[in-house]
Subunit: 256 residues, 2 copies
């Protein structure tokens, strides 16, 4: 019998989120699993790590659960570092992050704790996927995404991923999907709107809010796929070098 | 007389750090400046934004300072959003972030609050540069970097930057430099070492520490440049799409 793959599961909505429970359900079917996830919501934490504070790690799974589950006081990226260094103590065969409550398509990849956890695993040389459902509802229905999550994870286990490449998988909020599209990241952004209020003590304070603006009509983008009923798969990388700009910069007078 | 450019200045070490004071000194010579920076150290915050908590913004400059200076309770990325949306209320001509106490070369770009602030400005369409000195000492000597910071900022103001491109500038810890090199991001990583301790109350806790490992000997990398006495300039982008992997993914059985 072929050895079962070892799969690390994390997220950014916190260990009690329905999205990670759905991911656990699916991954139990295809491998041995270890869960290390934040003990509180860590959305929009990007690639933050905890260096100015201490961290705690608590085993929360019951002895008969069939797998080990830990909550961590840190960020999603801290969770991956903890899992590899202190819990599993070697590289798992796969890391999956999510299923996020809310889309991480286009520019959201860069703010997302879910995707940053997946990217951290990629940096550490682990094949890795972030899954997100474009539905912020805590009671979102994850049933329709489960067969797709399973198939994509199995394909990564079977084919591997190129060095330095992580998958960003987003599901539209539909009851069924037209298919799966390999896409590029749409050029989109958030336009901020700060909601200014006054505290009971007379001090101004703000809530950060914003409006999502898609500047990119390309039919090869993740935004287009999601808007048109497809699951989007964007291969992402952590080599941020803008190679196309190097030639131009070399013509500048930088040396004085 | 030509209108002076408006320059937004931020950092991640906090508004009192000597690095941002050095950056203010230089930018005052070439433009009108506005400073919006975190009220406390925010190193390694990556691209985190504050959505689960409120934010405050305090004007701290004296009336005769000649420029406006604000401290913000949020992350470096929050500071840029605040500056553009609430303080300046339009796009500045340039955003500079730093000068960071410590290197942000190679993979550090992804954890760095300094670079994430610069990247956020880039997302918002502002020509933007992050500056870092490979010296963690709070009393590091910023004098030698100042003429280089000035020249690079002037070149960006003069030439602009391609859409979606931000500069990551790192200075080695030398008393003089051999020159400036346009580089790619070295393929490097941190290997974690969690320092486990026991609290006075008997609970385990951890400090995240790590060892930097450079896997990339290329002489075209930022790590090579810094090690050999050069200032490194890496153009970075926030389109994370791994275009080279799309063809391969399109051969997978993703649709079931």
């Amino acid at each position: 019998m072929k050895k079962k793959p070892l799969i690390l599961i994390t997220n950014d909505d916190g260990i009690t989120a329905p999205g990670i429970r759905a991911l656990i359900d699916v991954m139990k079917e295809i491998g041995d699993i270890v869960v290390v996830a934040p003990d509180s919501p860590q959305s929009a934490m990007g690639h933050a790590i905890t260096i100015h504070n201490t961290l705690s790690l608590n085993k929360i799974s019951k002895p008969d659960a069939g797998f080990d589950e830990y909550s961590c006081s840190g960020t999603p990226v801290d969770c991956v570092k903890f899992a590899v260094s202190e819990v599993i103590k070697h590289k798992p065969d796969l890391c999956v992050s999510g299923i996020n409550h809310g889309s991480n398509s286009s520019i959201n990849v860069i703010y997302s704790g879910t995707m940053s956890a997946a990217i951290e695993a990629g940096i550490e040389g682990i094949p890795s996927i972030g899954f997100s459902l474009a539905d912020f509802d805590w009671n979102a229905d994850f049933e329709v995404v489960k067969p797709y999550v399973k198939r994509i994870a199995e394909q990564v286990l079977e084919n591997g991923l190129p060095d330095g490449v992580i998958l960003n998988v987003n599901f539209p909020r539909e009851k069924s999907y037209k298919g799966v599209k390999v896409c590029r990241q749409a050029n989109a952004m958030w336009v901020e709107e700060f909601d200014k209020r006054k505290s009971p003590h007379g001090r101004d304070y703000y809530w950060l809010t914003g409006k999502f603006v898609n500047l990119d009509k390309g039919e090869d983008t993740d935004e287009w796929a999601l808007k048109n009923g497809y699951v989007s798969v964007v291969p992402v990388q952590f080599d941020l070098t803008a190679y196309h700009a190097m030639q131009q910069l070399n013509s500048w007078k930088l040396d004085g």
